[in-house]
């Protein structure tokens, strides 16, 4: 199923662009053109570590108009399961990786009359490719990009060179903050807002837009959650008749895959809904970490997103 959609790419360049972010250029191992994509897409990168396989989603930041290579940027997260650390410490130029075909869960609205984009930190990646799509069109757009300090402004020069005064950079270190409330308060009809960045920034943009009366169809955001580390637990997959133990630094989906059961997935970040699974029995509590299920669905205890969510308790039975 999902796994067979991967293809081999060669890492052709690696650059440390900020103290925490590395930039990777990937080309098709067979020399062919990369599959086409639209701004806002991500790919899942499969990393074969010494003891386990990591599959992490990364937004494509290169131009959708240049299919000679894909570019991704990876922020090092030391306190996580290890995918980003693997990308930083073990991936070298010339190495071959498997990646899945691009999927876009953060699309530009094609009928918008104006686009206002907010990015924070490594969240710039998905937005950078969207800007390339917008540059080809005639619809006005503006980016407000917030970073910790000048040396953390990944791709700032490149963005300024490509988009000029449509891009504004803000430095937290200089107490230079984006006036999000002011910016969303007086936009013309037909404006769409997009945000990708740290959780508080997404929260502020959503809250400000809603407070200004924006309808949901004009508000777009993306945040991949890394599956949080948690307590180990066991799960029984009823259809497959397999019992699986989930380790503390392993996601439920990864444990299911390690057991040889082919479960559906797309984003691996709790966003898309593809891995949604029915919970047949649970003795304990489900720990929902996704952005997909509604509060009612989460409370019902009958559905779980194995890519980011876990369970606490003695018994969990899934319809897989």
């Amino acid at each position: 199923m999902s796994h067979s959609h991967t293809f081999a790419v060669t890492v052709t360049a690696i650059t440390q662009v900020t103290p925490l972010i590395k930039h990777f250029v990937l080309k098709a191992a067979d020399g062919a053109q990369m599959p086409s994509f639209s701004g806002g897409s991500h790919v899942v990168v499969v990393m074969k570590g010494a003891t386990r396989v990591y599959r992490n989603p990364y937004s494509l930041l290169s131009s959708p108009n240049d299919l000679s290579a894909y570019e991704i940027a990876v922020r090092r997260a030391d306190q996580s399961r290890g995918g980003s650390v693997f990308m930083h410490d073990h991936v070298t130029v010339g190495m071959t990786l498997q990646i899945a075909h691009p999927v876009n869960l953060f699309q530009l609205d094609k009928l918008a009359l104006k686009h206002v984009l907010f990015a924070g930190g490594v969240g710039i990646t998905a937005i950078a490719a969207q800007l390339e799509d917008l540059k080809m069109g005639a619809v006005p757009y503006e980016l407000h990009y917030s970073v910790r300090a000048p040396d953390h402004a990944a791709f700032a020069d490149r963005l300024l060179a490509r988009h000029g005064d449509r891009v504004r950079i803000y430095h937290d270190s200089a107490e230079h903050r984006i006036d999000i409330e002011g910016l969303v308060a007086a936009q013309p009809l037909g404006t769409h807002v997009y945000v990708c960045g740290p959780t508080p920034m997404i929260g502020r943009v959503l809250a400000s837009a809603r407070a200004a009366g924006w309808a949901e169809s004009h508000i777009h955001w993306e945040q991949f959650s890394a599956p949080p580390v948690g307590d180990p637990f066991d799960v029984f997959l009823k259809k497959s008749n397999v019992k699986v133990s989930v380790l503390p630094d392993q996601s439920l989906l990864e444990a299911i895959e390690d057991a040889g059961v082919d479960a559906p997935y797309l984003c691996r970040g709790g966003v898309c809904g593809e891995c949604k699974c029915r919970v047949l029995e649970v003795d304990g509590v489900l720990v929902h970490n996704d952005h997909y299920l509604s509060p009612e669905e989460k409370a019902s205890g009958t559905l779980i997103m194995p890519c980011v969510s876990r369970a606490h308790g003695k018994n969990l039975v899934l319809d897989l």
């Binding site: 009359l113 009809l189 309808a215 169809s217």
Partner: protein
Amino acid sequence: MLIRGIKSKPVYTPLAPDLGGRTHLLVGFGVGAEPLTRLMADCTLAGVTKASRRLLYVTDKSASMAMHEMMRHADAGEVQLFKDSASLLSEFETILKASIMGTRLYVAGPEAFMGLVMRIAARFNLNRDEIRAEECGSPARRVHCIHCRAATEDVTTNIVQCVDCQRWLVVRDHYSRRLAAYMGVMIDAEVPGELPPIEEVFV
């Protein structure tokens, strides 16, 4: 004969305040005065301020003098009355050009009128979650001739002669939001002049 059961036929629901909005634009025609009056009362109950409401209304013979007076003194921050649809639509477009995000549109009246209002709203990218519409008044249709592209107004029959190319058209339930009209397709192409019975159906 009539071609029914096409999904593009719009579905309308009774107007209710959208508390998410900050500016509320109410647009009505004829007997649309009734749902708009009810809406304004519901807005007040729900805490939507009078100042945030703006009303555009055009009367016609379907509305009584009493309704017209009711609209003149409507409970809105600004009230504008028009003698015909064209001048209302022109003012409506001017207002949208100057409007900002946070605006909600409420439309009440016959479908043919509401379609023209919503066609303008669509040009400003007002989406379905920003527009509410309640149908009342004449069910007469605006029919788009798919052959010459002219619009025939106030169609009440299942079959109608195109105002421009004179072809006989059967009125389908296939509705276009972009054109604000139902599709009319030539009915006697095989045997010119051979028409099924013409019946009053949209009355």
